[in-house]
């Protein structure tokens, strides 16, 4: 197996790129074509953009702006639509973990920013995802002050529950779910957070308030509604299940029925 890899590493590729360039939120953008030669299959997709940017700087052109930080698929900073798919063709993989070995010599790759009203483009491939922070601020936590906690073993939690909470908690808030959804809904993002807490005893006193406020905030921020397309689950780099959305709906209905109206005091 390592033998195959060595052979592959030596083969360099030529890659053509069509990249969305946009000066700022208020200006119109357009696709611009570039070519990068000597692309190693072991290079990550974002490293390809790094190499392109070095070339652009050399020529005195403006480099392509894109967000990236950990490059390990966990911080959620990166996020570009690659050939029409949020984070590109590889399932369960953020753009930073997508390697060029999944492309072929001579390919033309189209690169766009997330497109959603709630995520305005700031420049090129950089978008403003602060709406996610505002949704979390509306209830995506357990309200416990530092120092109030009882001993960690005071409440045993079944392993299954802890594991399911963890499955949901893995969300990295990259926004691919929104970018992939025809309605630009943030349902999967919110459902992941709400689901995490439905499995755990912590935070139950505020569970109704949480779901009502977070859903209301999602609507205010301009995200669309969920109509079960399932595109979100398909592109999620952390494979958050669409089942979390069903769970959120149950949680929401229970809260509305219990508290009446929108239920928010």
């Amino acid at each position: 197996m390592s033998g195959d890899r060595r052979e592959m590493s030596n083969k360099k590729m030529t890659i053509h790129l069509r990249i969305w360039r946009q000066e700022g939120p208020a200006t119109e953008g357009k696709f611009v074509s570039y070519t990068v030669q000597e692309v190693s299959p072991d290079m990550s997709f974002l490293e390809l953009l790094d190499v392109l940017n070095e070339q652009l700087i050399d020529k005195g052109d403006r480099p392509v702006e894109f967000d990236s930080d950990c490059r390990e698929g966990i911080c959620g900073s990166c996020g570009v639509v690659i050939n029409g798919i949020a984070h590109g063709p590889l399932r369960a993989t953020a753009a930073c973990q997508l390697h060029m070995r999944h492309f072929s010599d001579g390919d033309t790759i189209t690169v766009e920013p997330w497109r959603a009203n709630a995520f305005p483009v700031l420049r090129d491939l950089v978008t403003d995802r602060s709406a996610f922070d505002r949704i979390i601020a509306a209830g995506g936590y357990v309200s416990v002050n530092t120092g109030q906690a009882p001993d960690a073993h005071a409440i045993p939690i079944p392993k299954d529950a802890a594991d399911q909470a963890m499955d949901a908690a893995e969300c990295i808030a990259c926004g691919a779910c929104v970018a992939a959804c025809p309605n630009a809904s943030a349902a999967l993002f919110i459902a992941a957070k709400i689901s995490q807490y439905t499995f755990l005893p912590q935070g139950h006193p505020e569970r109704e308030r949480r779901v009502l406020r977070m859903v209301q905030k999602m609507d205010e921020e301009g995200f669309g509604n969920c109509s079960n397309h399932g595109e979100c689950e398909a592109v999620c780099p952390k494979e958050i299940s669409i089942g979390t959305i069903a769970r959120m709906r149950r949680e929401y209905m229970k809260a509305v029925l219990k508290r009446g109206g929108t239920g928010i005091e």
């Binding site: 197996m1 390592s2 033998g3 890899r5 190693s40 072991d42 290079m43 974002l46 490293e47 190499v51 700087i57 403006r62 480099p63 702006e65 930080d69 950990c70 490059r71 390990e72 966990i74 911080c75 959620g76 900073s77 590889l90 369960a92 973990q97 390697h99 070995r101 420049r123 602060s130 922070d133 979390i136 601020a137 209830g139 936590y141 357990v142 309200s143 416990v144 002050n145 530092t146 109030q148 001993d151 960690a152 073993h153 045993p156 939690i157 079944p158 392993k159 802890a162 594991d163 909470a165 963890m166 908690a169 893995e170 808030a173 995490q196 807490y197 499995f199 755990l200 912590q202 935070g203």
Partner: protein, 637 residues
Amino acid sequence: MKLESKVPGGPLEERWDRHRAEIKLVSPANKRKFDVIVVGTGLAGASAAASLAELGYKVKAFTILDSPRRSHSIAAQGGINAAKNYPNDGDSIWRLFYDTIKGGDFRSRESNVYRLAQVSANIIDQCVAQGVPFAREYGGYLSNRSFGGAQVSRTFYARGQTGQQLLLGAYGALMRQVDAGQVELYCRREMLDLVVIDGKARGIVCRNLVNGQIEPYLAHAVVLATGGYGNAYYLSTNAMNSNVTAAWRCHRRGAFFANPCFTQIHPTCIPVSGHYQSKLTLMSESLRNDGRVWVPANPGDRRPPQDIPESERDYYLERRYPSFGNLVPRDVASRAAKKVCDDGRGVGETGLAVYLDFADAIRREGVGYIQDKYGNLFEMYEKITGEDPYRVPMRIYPAVHYTMGGLWVDYNLMSTVPGLFVLGEANFSDHGANRLGASALMQGLADGYFIIPYTIGDYFAGAELGAVDENQDPVKASIEECRQRLEKLLSVRGKKSPRQFHREVGQILWDYVGMSRNAEGLRKAQSLLSEIREEYWEEVRVPGEAHMLNKHLEFAGRIADFIELGELLARDALHREESCGAHFREEFQTDEGEPLRRDDEFSYVAAWEYRGVGEEPALHKEILEFENVELATRSYK
């Protein structure tokens, strides 16, 4: 200036309790009159900002990223230590304290480390209460595993994403305070300067990274939690935006920089694959619980790993360190890997790698067991390398990971600039010359949740803090300096991109101030770096303009600071004529090649005072006093 550590007296076990009983308090009604700036929103910053806001202080929190939840603490994989002794295997506060002091090779402050061990248990309680989904056993209780440098299982974890889950807990607490109006959150802001008025830290100057505006923010105190400087080496496990600029700007304003040469090279990272490489990826130390490290016994053996029989393999960690085996501390494991590769027994294309092999564990426990414990790490490895670690051993090599050095702080976590507190990786305080695995998360959260909330009140209650405003000269001067520096970077229009410079600086540091150092190399590094510093301001080519989103301009400023820091790093490494922890000076080793500490001469913290660009900094020594532990030669044999 004399360094005063402000360590309280009395028995070690009672110091923190006594200190808390003796320090001054700010009444609930008065807390709202104090503004606190928190820079950085990783574990230390987010936990501090949330906890201070809960107490009633008015907090402004800043991050260079687009959301606090993306701070690099999120990438910590393996776990967090705490002296809970839930497994009943002999752990205690004392033992965690001792392991940490010993792991740091006796170059940290006893009182700080003991306090860290004391509050470690509270951290787990707090995080569980926040809904952090730690791994659990079928009985519903928390699961533990082992990390390097310890013979007990005290590490709590959430799969291979412990940092993520702890950060999301702290981030949730922070966003709750944003919702309550107690915290004003400023994202995509980069701190470019510290504002010092009448000798006290009173604010910061930031660049708004979206529109390029230079913005001053003022407060009664500044809390810096901006992480480490590992990215000075260009290739490291740090995130692309991790940098030293905020800390370095504080250093230039009077904060001493302590032990910069204590940089941790982590033994288990995915090896470099090419020139384009932008960063290195860690494979969690927790893998060493089940993975066995080996290389071919014979130099030049190029057979695939499965074709090399047991008898021709060298499990060198198990051989050299039988009692700790694959779980020796990071510095020991890294040097051992470097040695076998230097001996020509490295594997992979470059020969700069060793195997981390799970075949035995898979045979013993089954694939399911490995999947459950490390599944996401195995997937990540396969994504990056294209190889399946369930079938072939991982190839790993050491990479720069963490920096024990940082801004000097006293017991209250205050720097040499009054009113400037430094938390987490950005300070130097707890890990001595080498940090043990799963202790960074512990320290970040200890500082933020349980230490700064007490010590900042003591400062406010005792300090004279008059009103300040943006029209005061120090604020205006600082804004002007920041603006001019950006303009200067843009006006050079030279031939080399910031990244090219960064790569060169990183190579120098890696070659001469890396895992193995000697006087000749360190002098060479110093002269090369001072040349690069001058060349930088004549040859750098920064694209774009200042008044817009311009990431290359951001990077250009950070690289200029990395160069200056690099000079200090080399200087510190040259002056410390001993080997301790991660700092290995070839001239000072035992016959067996183990580090040789020189306690009589170097049992101190080296705190450097800035004296100007290219000027020799002044060295101040904080003598380390060991009243409770005996200085011993570290042995993991």
